[in-house]
């Protein structure tokens, strides 16, 4: 019986957990902090710390943790003059935290929309793991086409007054 329960649990976890591409994750782990740092409010923030939150369902926390590790391996000490601090949050806990940027791994449409809305209203730079989620109001993601480029949501950027370095915008793909 006990064996059956463990097998069931394992199968259900495998059944409801999302599959994340490690290559995409690696690229995003490298680029997202840099994109965030090129946002003017973060860039001009006198605090020498960049607070990042990776929001994921509990089932995806391992993936989120792997994401965190990738970021930390990219920027073990500092990125520019900012020390990077990364937290792992769920949909429920994220609203209680003070963060500079969030990376959302969720695929629940309602949650995604709410998180994006909350982040924009609080002027938090929001990144979607899946560029397809940009439509929910995330500020940025990664565009993977012939080449991989930062993907910036122009409407959100303008509506919520996010200001990016012009050079970044030049090499980015604009979502609108």
């Amino acid at each position: 019986m006990h064996k059956h329960f463990i097998l069931f649990f394992f199968l259900s976890v495998q059944l409801f957990a999302t599959q994340y591409d490690s290559t995409v994750m690696a690229i995003e782990a490298k680029l997202f902090p840099k994109i965030a740092l090129l946002e003017q409010h973060i860039k001009n923030d006198p605090l020498s710390m960049l607070q990042i939150s990776i929001v994921a369902k509990e089932l995806d926390l391992d993936e989120a943790s792997a994401f965190k590790d990738k970021i930390m391996s990219n920027y073990p000490k500092k990125l520019g003059n900012k020390e990077i601090h990364i937290r792992l949050d769920t949909y429920e806990t994220i609203r209680q935290q003070a963060v500079d940027m969030i990376i959302v791994l969720s695929n629940n449409n309602e949650e995604l929309e709410n998180i994006a809305s909350w982040a924009n209203q609080n002027h938090i730079v929001s990144f979607a793991y899946d560029s397809g989620h940009m439509k929910y109001g995330f500020l940025a993601s990664i565009y993977i086409g012939k080449s991989t480029k930062p993907y910036i949501n122009k409407d959100v950027m303008l509506k919520y007054n996010f200001i990016f370095d012009s050079y970044l915008l030049q090499l980015s793909k604009i979502y609108q």
């Binding site: 840099k34 520019g80 991989t148 050079y167």
Partner: protein
């Protein structure tokens, strides 16, 4: 070297041309092209500095495609020939170049790229750029400069040819005047100048030369007439003078005769008394031999004296006109000896004061005639004063002295002098103060004539204390110098 107007004009004209064009060329080639080179360099630098942050951010975001696109677009610029990106380990991240032609000069500009996050140097970008555009601009500028040069050349040449036409006409005027001045040849000026001034000068010169030629012809005729009239006048004058001289000599002869009469009166009386005494004594038979010889000696001496007087007279009237060197002192003595009796009979005493060995050149008889005129004039004037008892005795002082190369002969008397209002006229012909029949008025005129024209001297008169002083100045003969 630059003597003619055309050569001066040509020289300064082309000098002006060079002065205008060379600075333009110099400024364009040295300053403007340098400026362009700097400007091109600044442009490349500016472009690269503008692109540099994008390059850096592209590297930072691993945007290889973006990087390549960007650098490819840079390479499209015709002056950018190659771009090399190197990381801090000097490894080439990117290298792209065009086929560079040999004749193109390549400049190199290297700048470092700064990471936008760490602000550290992440590599260098080197751009090799050519001056193709600059060369094209240079060519265009050279073309403009050369065009300006040739345009200026054409304008200057047209102006030069136009003005040269005027100058040529002036040159023809000059040549024509020169030909007329030197060869008396009239070369009509045929010119094509359209300038009013030059045409006027050329045409006026033509007219003027023809007029001058007419005038010259008229002048020649007039000269011939004048020469004829002058020669006739001279002949008339010479005739008149000859007549005057003749008259003068006649007068002198008259005076000489009077002198001879005076000279002969005393010896004639002596001879008369001696012959009368001889006749009486011979008639009475009391004539003694010794007394006879004595009387004959007296007669003989007086006859000799009279004969000498005749010789003096004859010498004076000697027509010899040859120039000779003579002593003026001796001439004075000779003349005084002739009129000695007259002077004495008029109670006039005379004196001669002279330096020794004075010689002058001239016709002695003519000089004596001058002296005779002066002495007789003094004698006549003294005679009048004696007659009016204004003086008791006449004085005639003659002095001869040498001053440098000149002999000064002064004849002074105490005859009261000459009235100031007539003193300037006394050497004029037919001017006399003597009573009618006593003077011809030509004596002093002839005297002046002889002294000035024949002896190249001068004669003047001035009033002195009690009379007048005639001064004759003659050249001292070289042997005495």
């Amino acid at each position: 070297m630059l003597k003619t107007l055309i050569s001066k004009f040509t020289f300064f004209f082309w000098l002006l041309f060079l002065v205008v064009t060379i600075p333009i060329y110099h400024y364009t080639t040295y300053h403007y092209l340098d400026f362009l080179k700097e400007s091109e360099k600044e442009k490349i630098t500016l472009t690269l500095n503008a692109v540099k942050p994008i390059l850096a951010i592209s590297i930072s975001f691993d945007q290889q495609n973006q990087l390549e696109n960007l650098l490819d677009s840079l390479l499209k610029h015709e002056d950018i020939q190659a771009i090399i990106l190197k990381n801090n380990d000097n490894e080439e991240i990117f290298l792209k170049s065009k086929a560079i032609k040999n004749y193109i000069r390549i400049f190199e500009y290297t700048t470092s790229m700064i990471d936008p996050f760490s602000k550290e140097v992440i590599g260098v970008v080197t751009v090799f750029y050519s001056n193709k555009q600059l060369l094209r601009m240079e060519s265009e500028i050279y073309f403009i400069v050369v065009s300006i040069f040739f345009f200026a050349l054409i304008i200057f040449t047209i102006t030069f040819l136009y003005i040269r036409g005027d100058l040529k006409a002036l040159r023809m005027v000059s040549d024509s005047l020169n030909a007329y001045a030197n060869k008396k040849v009239i070369n009509p000026i045929v010119h094509f100048s359209k300038s009013t001034e030059v045409s006027t000068i050329a045409n006026t010169t033509n007219t003027m030369l023809l007029s001058i030629d007419d005038y010259v012809e008229q002048l020649k005729i007039f000269n011939l007439e004048l020469e004829d009239r002058v020669s006739k006048g001279i002949a008339k004058q010479q005739l008149q003078e000859r007549m005057m001289i003749h008259q003068s000599r006649q007068a002198a002869m008259g005076e000489m005769l009077e002198s001879i009469a005076h000279q002969w009166r005393q010896p004639l009386n002596i001879i008369g008394l001696a012959t009368m005494s001889l006749e009486t004594e011979f008639t009475l038979g009391i004539m003694q031999k010794q007394e006879f010889y004595d009387k004959m000696l007296i007669i003989s001496n007086n006859i000799n004296y009279m004969s000498d007087t005749i010789d003096d007279f004859r010498n004076f009237l000697n027509p010899n006109k040859d120039m000779q060197t003579f002593s003026p002192k001796k001439s004075v003595r000779d003349v005084l000896s002739i009129i000695d009796a007259q002077l004495k009979s008029n109670n006039i005493i005379y004196s001669i004061e002279s330096e020794e060995n004075i010689l002058v050149r001239g016709v002695e008889n003519e000089f004596k005639q001058v002296l005779l005129v002066l002495f007789n004039n003094s004698k006549d004037a003294v005679k009048e004063l004696l007659h009016e008892k204004m003086i008791k005795q006449g004085i005639l002082d003659i002095s001869l002295k040498v001053r440098k190369n000149w002999v000064i002969i002064e004849v002074k008397d105490n005859a009261g002098g000459i009235k100031p209002d007539i003193i300037k006229d006394i050497f004029s012909p037919y001017f006399t103060t003597k009573a009618e029949n006593n003077g011809t008025g030509i004596g002093l005129y002839i005297a002046k004539n002889i002294i000035e024209t024949r002896m190249e001297g001068s004669i003047s008169v001035e009033n002195i204390d009690k009379g007048s002083c005639f001064t004759i100045t003659l050249k001292l003969h070289k042997e005495n110098v």
